[in-house]
Symmetry: C2
Subunit: 337 residues, 2 copies
């Protein structure tokens, strides 16, 4: 199934992109080039480049969140920029921790500028995001607290993810918590912070956050599927990359804890110290399926998306905004594998 | 000259320590042990230890800053905790960037827990500091913005410091800017945030910040002197450690840019690729002195401290608070070498 990018995502890019660029331009010259490179605003030499900062999914959700509260999208531009800056802060630091050398088809920032400058640029983007919000009290202060809470969960999720790599007894419930922290929390923030920032009532904010939690979890679970069954054309990575990296993503955890003969063979395969051969990756993929890892993950994703739609159904918001939110949720969870 | 620790520093430790411990206890279990270890609240296994978080100089200044505004010290405890958390966030991340393996006579956090968890724990402490302040609007919001601005300068200073290590043409003015960013900005924040947090008028806030800038710069310059002439008993490091590490601290930059025969010989010595021998360290130390690096740095430190006292002289504040602020400024700039 192929889907076209929702119109709101392109609109968000056009609307929020300049705000992100202006905010980053405030940073000190000692860290600014790293941030601009990471965000796709500049090349290694600092020369401006076209294109820029990623998919703008989160900014699109934030602008819709403001519209859900009856405010024009334009009023939430700084909140959307803050969410995108935090998302990029986490990518920048995660790339260092995970030792990843490529992102968005370019070398990661730490491989180009060094670990020190990359840590600092991430720190600077995090503080900048909070500052953008604090400039417009009183609602900006509530928005900043919403963002802080999301960042703490994001950090906790990444911490658990790192810890899981060293463990072989990860449970499904723990894995679900980790994914809720790592991905769904910031998505819930993106979906509600626009409403907070424009002074919406708590009832609407909570429904939007619940929608974001469900959609974010479904998105992460879909991403987990891509990590095993995604084709290189879609993921930009070799087939079965999460199995090669022995990640504890949901399909793998669900399979390992299924108590089937397939789970035992899978554990033995992933427990060996050597790199997996192509044949072993194929066998492990088959074992994950046999042990029900794929079916369980699909079912969890469907349930999470269902919860998102139910929460949205309860909320009072304009019909066009509801339709656009649903469209984005469907788009981000319907990636091919 | 030996000086006893000012009473206010011990009081701050007793008053602010529990607030820091309570704040850190809120962190997720995935990062909390790293933060508690780094802060000296727990050992590697998570067992609580006596003693705790460093010298508490900054918290002492923040409590005095509240008292300068006529508020009881107790009212600024959370602001003092926030400043100390930010100071420790920066130490934690700097240790990774600088590859330092020892701090406060213990292995650094990244060597114990790994780079990933150490980056995350630093991020978490930074966000926690902001959160502590945002919990008490309206002044907490102003305090949070004061802290953000200090963090951005701290990041810029560390960025320049990293860059200077790779350069051999650093100027005195650049070095002074770097030290103002890296050390004086957070000290200025520590000296004024207690007043901001308790609703003091802008005039007092600005004088206190100016005092902190001067005292902070003098402190850093004194620290630069210790890095060259400090005895191992005082610094815990071998004699001449900054020369061995080819740091671009002020005495070295001042010497290198003095245009004297000594500066040329020093440049040649520090430019050689091999590690310096004991004799070469001794020779380099003598050359820094010959080139006027020590005298110039001492003069700059005296001037900065003078500026601090002048700013304090202009401010309207209780006499006992003024005396205590002066006492701490003298204490932190009168370290032995």
């Amino acid at each position: 199934m192929t889907m076209t990018i929702p119109a709101g995502v392109q609109i968000a890019r056009d609307l929020v992109g300049p705000s992100i660029a202006a905010a980053v331009a405030r940073l000190n010259p000692a860290v600014r080039p790293v941030a601009e490179y990471h965000l796709g605003l500049a090349d290694v030499t600092g020369k401006p480049v076209e294109g820029g900062a990623g998919k703008a999914l989160r900014p699109a959700l934030t602008l819709l969140s403001a519209r859900a509260a009856g405010a024009p999208a334009e009023r939430a531009v700084d909140a959307a920029a803050a969410v995108e800056l935090v998302h990029n802060f986490s990518l920048l630091h995660d790339d260092i921790m995970d030792g990843d050398t490529e992102r968005r088809h370019r070398p990661t920032a730490w491989t180009v500028f060094g670990i020190g400058p990359a840590i600092l640029a991430g720190d600077a983007m995090l503080v900048l995001a909070q500052d953008l919000l604090l400039e417009t009290p009183p609602y900006g202060v509530w928005a900043a607290r919403c963002l802080s809470a999301a960042v703490q969960r994001l950090i906790a999720g990444q911490g658990c993810d790192l810890e899981f790599e060293r463990r072989d007894d990860v449970k499904v419930a723990e894995c679900l918590d980790m994914e809720a922290d790592k991905t769904a929390a910031l998505m819930a923030c993106a979906c509600s912070i626009g409403a907070i920032y424009t002074g919406a009532p708590a009832e609407l904010v909570l429904s939007l956050a619940e929608f974001g939690t469900g959609a974010g979890l479904a998105f992460q679970l879909a991403d987990d599927m891509l990590g095993i069954w995604g084709t290189p054309e879609v993921t930009g990575k070799p087939v079965g990359s999460d199995l090669r990296a022995r990640k504890k993503s949901m399909p793998i955890v669900a399979a390992l804890t299924s108590g089937t003969p397939a789970s035992e063979e899978l554990a033995a395969l992933l427990g060996q110290p050597e790199q997996l051969t192509e044949d072993q990756v194929a066998r492990a993929t088959w074992l994950v399926e046999q042990a029900g890892g794929k079916d369980q993950t699909e079912a969890m994703a469907a349930k999470a998306l269902d919860g998102a739609f139910t929460a949205l159904g309860r909320a009072k918001l304009p019909d066009d905004v509801r339709a656009e939110l649903c469209g984005i949720a469907e788009f981000i969870t319907a990636r091919q594998w």
